[in-house]
Amino acid sequence: MTTDLFLFARGEREVSPARPEALLVERICQGDDEAFSEFYRMFAPMVHGIVLARVSRNDVDDIIQEVFISAYKNFDSLRDKNAVGGWLAMIARNRATEFFRQSKPTEELAEDVGRTGSSHARAHEILSAIRTCPDAYREPLVMRLVEGMTGPEIAERTGLTPESVRVNLHRGMKLLREKLGIGVK
């Protein structure tokens, strides 16, 4: 740490190479529409997971669109292009929280609400349990269990360190098992 500060003060610290998403952002700023489509495909599952962890499924698609449009308008204000994943995740969290505050409290029902023991009812039950977990746990859990992303992928997209993602996944999974009564004998 001390060495880093010393080298940074002398201007000799190596600049980290541009990541693929940073190159995409550069192309978007130059007006490349194809780059924006690629960027969308790369980060849409992450944004979907973050939003789904907070709001009901019916509103998720609209919020995703808003998040990407907001990001598109503000790409110029992004200083470190390598940190675009964390920046986009923050926009998604803010949008979802804002929507959650403005919307009236509703109870999301499963599509086959009348039938007990069906797969949709079970999925709804699991997702509701995940949503009751703390913020730090619910996002990695949704990305891992719903979106099917691995731990390293979650860390890469969100800009978090792999260690913190791993810890949050482990603790979140443990909490979810308790809530769902899995493994309790």
Partner: protein, 194 residues
């Protein structure tokens, strides 16, 4: 016992986590069409803003032209010499018996007189004047049965002036209309934008 490695990078297997994954698969992100970026919609805003103001300016210009022509027409002095004075002065002065004019119930004749100033410009042979009594014309006696009325020389002159003013006004309006039509052409607007 939970398999941490499977939870982290899907290596190995864990039946409980796999069951959760399969159940939650219904909520997984499905590919959507990416949002339309704002720069694709810029041309629509430009086109809308440019179509209202030129039309308003053209309308105001047309109104101003019509108003000024009308003002010139009404403010011109009656005795001022014009190009049509010669034509008017060449018409011999004559008295028309009102009995010949359809729709006028009177037996007296109409005396037509010109201003004295006109005689300085055109000298023509004139018919001797006949002294007549003042004319009393009742407007309400114009009946709808005789729409075509024979005009006197002064009325004919006024009618020609009115037609001239209307033709000038219509030509000006046509110029304005062509200008507005050229501005509102979409191709022109797009070219201008580019």
């Amino acid at each position: 016992m939970m398999n941490d490695e499977y939870l982290w990078n899907k290596s190995g297997s864990d039946t409980e986590i796999e069951e959760l994954e399969n159940a939650l698969k219904a909520y997984r992100y499905q590919e959507m069409i990416e949002p339309c970026t704002p720069m694709r919609a810029v041309s629509f805003a430009e086109k809308r803003s440019s179509s209202i103001w030129p039309f308003g300016f053209a309308l105001a210009f047309a109104s101003a032209v019509v108003f000024s022509l009308s003002a010139v027409w009404f403010l011109l002095p009656a005795g001022a010499p014009t190009l049509t004075d010669a034509a008017v002065s060449s018409v011999p002065i004559q008295s028309l018996p009102l009995a010949d004019v359809p729709g006028i119930e009177s037996t007296t004749a109409i005396e037509i007189s010109r201003p004295e100033t006109r005689r300085e410009f055109v000298k023509t042979r004139q018919a001797p004047r006949t002294k007549t009594s003042p004319v009393r014309v009742v407007a309400k006696t114009f009946s709808k049965k005789h729409p075509q009325v024979q005009l006197t020389a002064e009325e004919k002159y006024a009618y020609d002036q009115l037609m001239l003013a209307l033709s000038i006004t219509s030509s000006k309006l046509k110029i304005v209309k062509d200008t507005v039509g050229q501005i509102d052409k979409p191709d022109t607007a797009i070219e201008r934008y580019r």
